[in-house]
């Protein structure tokens, strides 16, 4: 989009420019992520032992 030189869009609320963090409570997501991490750790173990 065309914006002024060196300037971004102006936002009406402070919250528009702040990051948000949200806890993941979905166990399916958590399990999927954990399985990827565990397989990474298994690979590390395999490679270095």
């Amino acid at each position: 989009m065309a914006t002024e030189n060196n300037k971004g869009i102006k936002y009406p609320n402070k919250s528009d420019i702040l990051q948000k963090i949200r806890k993941v409570t979905d166990n399916t997501k958590k399990t999927t992520i954990k399985s990827i991490i565990d397989s990474f750790l298994t690979m590390v173990k395999t490679k270095h032992t």
Partner: protein, 639 residues
């Protein structure tokens, strides 16, 4: 048992699969861990392993909030371990705080009854050095195990080489589709990842051939299927990796990018995303707190009113220039602190317009937040978040209301705040309400400006076809906070953030006492004491001391009751009102005849532990904490 805490980042692709981006050690805990960690699971893990000691190896970066404060009142991880895990289970807790720059860790002998948790970076550790520091090591291992577990990559290297991008470019519409990243972390977040919208294979090949030896290309996953507040986000899994590379998940969170999505990305002629549009696509655009720690006074759009009533932009301002400046109140207006306030009516009647000289000016390439104000009178002003202006507030006292003038950073301003302006045609004070505030991310030059004697200069409105009002602006970095007065002399020294300098202080009396000038207008006491802060001198030859001003004061949470959160100072710590417990009040009366009854305002010592103000906390012989309010530069007061 030795353990390390890792933070592994994922993006969820448009097909629903999770793609690992990187793993990190030496992480900051930027959530309120007590709300995120499953205390029961963690406790069971500790009890199942019969640990009697938990050691935590960390730096200040690991326990404080990183980047932009995300969670009000985030509890340091060390406090969580101490209060939620160790104390209830009678487990000893030992902290090993290292210098932030530490690359290795002290040796702590391992044994079955010890859980030694490491947050701090250790260059000799496998995960840290081979897979966290080196993105190629992580990506290659993941790719060899399961190519789809990471985004498609191009790494040109004999040992870690990957080329999974192929001949079909990712289609993200009018948004970036590829990123150039650095192999070794940490990288310069202001530059990397560099985001492109590649349209043809030729574009891709050109980008491949332009890579530096330590750069690689990764497809940019842009997924708007799930949004938080209209912002894209990534996942971070925080895990305790222990013993023989087993994992205990502590929590998983989603962290957004900074700006909301829009229809299109903003690209330059090389199809690279513009710097001001990066916060929409990445979560880090600053390097930790370093980039936002410099407090700037003005930006390139700031127009200063000169002493001859001409104007000059901040970028054209030079040292020795003479600017129009304001003395708000008697002879102390050039010494103003965060806590300063003055009577509005008194200021309106007694302010003086004077000239000050630009004695220092530092220029910075600024990228970050800009606050844009529109006032009810039509005037527009904009500045960096720490640009300091003056606003009018009303504060109840007894049965009436006093109208005060206080300072405020731009970032603290709110709609309907009343700002103090000067009508430069009539040289009179006027006020106007803030009608709207808009926030933007911009890339521009910004400045630290020091003027003397007065610290208050005038910034012209940035309103089209109108040049009537200027806003009172106080230079931030040269705000002076310490004065040592030489009784009997007319020259004092005061310390500014930029160092201690001597300055002729116009007290105008031979025999001078000095007292702290801070807090509500209407000194002397109860704001009279020798301490850090802003001082004024009087001609009575003495100083009146308040009973409870600064110095070391009991501030242990355990000694207080009816604790109520009041507000958070710009410096980052919280102010509470509270009463002391009856046992303590009685004991203090017996020991020192000090009266701690009634309601008080101050900090909780425990809040300051593991923060940059930790050196203000003293552990008393009786086991309770007290706080050196002098060092903290804060008033401990009865209310």
């Amino acid at each position: 048992m030795r353990a390390v805490i890792t933070g592994t980042d994922f993006l969820k692709d448009t097909d629903g699969s999770f793609k690992a981006i990187e793993t990190n050690t030496n992480i900051g805990m930027d959530v309120a861990v007590n709300d995120y960690i499953d205390t029961t699971s963690f406790t069971n893990f500790v009890l199942d392993n019969s640990f009697t000691e938990i050691h935590l190896i960390y730096t200040s970066a690991n326990v404080s909030i990183t980047d932009i404060p995300l969670v009000e009142g985030a509890l340091p991880f060390s406090n969580f371990l101490s209060q939620s895990i160790c104390e209830p289970n009678e487990i000893a807790f030992v902290k090993h705080k290292l210098d932030d720059s530490s690359m290795t860790i002290p040796f702590i002998e391992d044994s079955d009854n010890k859980l030694i948790i490491r947050l701090a970076y250790d260059t000799t550790a496998l995960l840290d050095d081979t897979y966290a520091r080196d993105n190629w090591g992580f990506l290659k291992l993941m790719y060899d195990n399961s190519p789809n577990s990471i985004p498609k990559c191009y790494i040109n290297d004999t040992e870690f080489g990957i080329d999974s991008i192929g001949e079909t470019l990712r289609d993200n519409g009018n948004h970036p589709n590829y990123a150039v990243k650095k192999r070794i972390t940490p990288t310069d977040n202001k530059i990397y990842p560099i985001l492109y919208k590649l349209n043809t294979i030729e574009d891709l090949n050109n980008l491949k051939s332009s890579l530096e030896i330590d750069e690689y290309i990764q497809e940019y996953i842009y997924n708007t299927d799930e949004l938080i507040d209209n912002k894209t986000f990534h996942y971070r899994s925080v895990d305790l990796i222990y013993s023989d590379l087993n994992s205990l998940n502590l929590f998983v969170y989603e962290k957004t990018n900074i700006l909301p999505i829009t229809t299109n990305g903003d690209f330059d002629d090389n199809n690279k995303i513009q710097i001001w549009d990066r916060p929409r696509y990445v979560s880090k655009v600053f390097n930790g707190t370093t980039d936002i720690s410099v407090k700037l006074d003005a930006d390139e759009s700031t127009i200063l009113v000169m002493s001859d009533d001409t104007t000059k932009t901040a970028n054209n301002l030079i040292v020795t220039d003479s600017v129009k400046s304001i003395i708000l109140q008697d002879n102390i207006s050039f010494l103003i602190s965060d806590e300063w306030s003055g009577s509005f009516s008194n200021i309106c009647e007694n302010f003086n317009i004077t000239s000050s000289v630009v004695v220092e000016k530092d220029t910075f390439n600024y990228f970050g937040e800009i606050c844009n104000l529109t006032l009810v009178n039509g005037s527009k002003f904009s500045d960096v978040p720490h640009g300091r202006v003056f606003k009018v507030i009303e504060r109840p006292i007894s049965s009436s209301v006093e109208t005060l003038v206080v300072q405020s950073n731009y970032s603290q301003l709110k709609v309907n705040d009343t700002l103090i302006l000067i009508d430069i045609e009539t040289n009179t004070i006027e006020t106007s309400l803030i009608q709207t505030i808009e926030y933007s991310f911009e890339s521009l030059q910004a400045y630290r400006i020091n003027i003397e004697e007065s610290d208050v200069f005038l910034s012209m409105e940035e309103t089209k076809n109108q040049s009537k009002y200027a806003i009172l602006t106080h230079n931030y970095n040269y705000d002076c906070r310490i004065v040592s007065c030489d009784v009997g002399g007319d020259v004092q020294s005061y310390g500014c953030n930029s160092g201690t300098i001597d300055f002729p202080y116009p007290c105008g009396a031979a025999d001078l006492g000095c007292y702290r000038y801070a807090g509500p207008y209407g000194y002397p006491p109860p704001y009279a004491c020798y301490s850090f802060g802003v001082y004024s001198c009087n001609s009575t030859g003495g100083t009146t001391w308040g009973n409870y001003c600064n110095g070391n004061k009991p501030s242990d949470k355990k000694l207080k009751k009816n604790i109520k959160y009041s507000h958070t100072l710009a410096r980052g710590f919280k102010i509470y009102t509270f009463e002391f417990i009856d046992e303590f009040i009685t004991a203090q009366k017996d020991v020192s005849n000090d009266d701690y009854s009634g309601k008080w305002q101050g900090v909780l010592a425990q809040d300051l532990l593991d923060t940059e103000y930790e050196n203000c906390v003293i552990l008393r012989e009786d086991g309770y904490f007290e706080v050196d309010y002098t060092k903290l530069n804060l008033e401990f007061k009865k209310i």
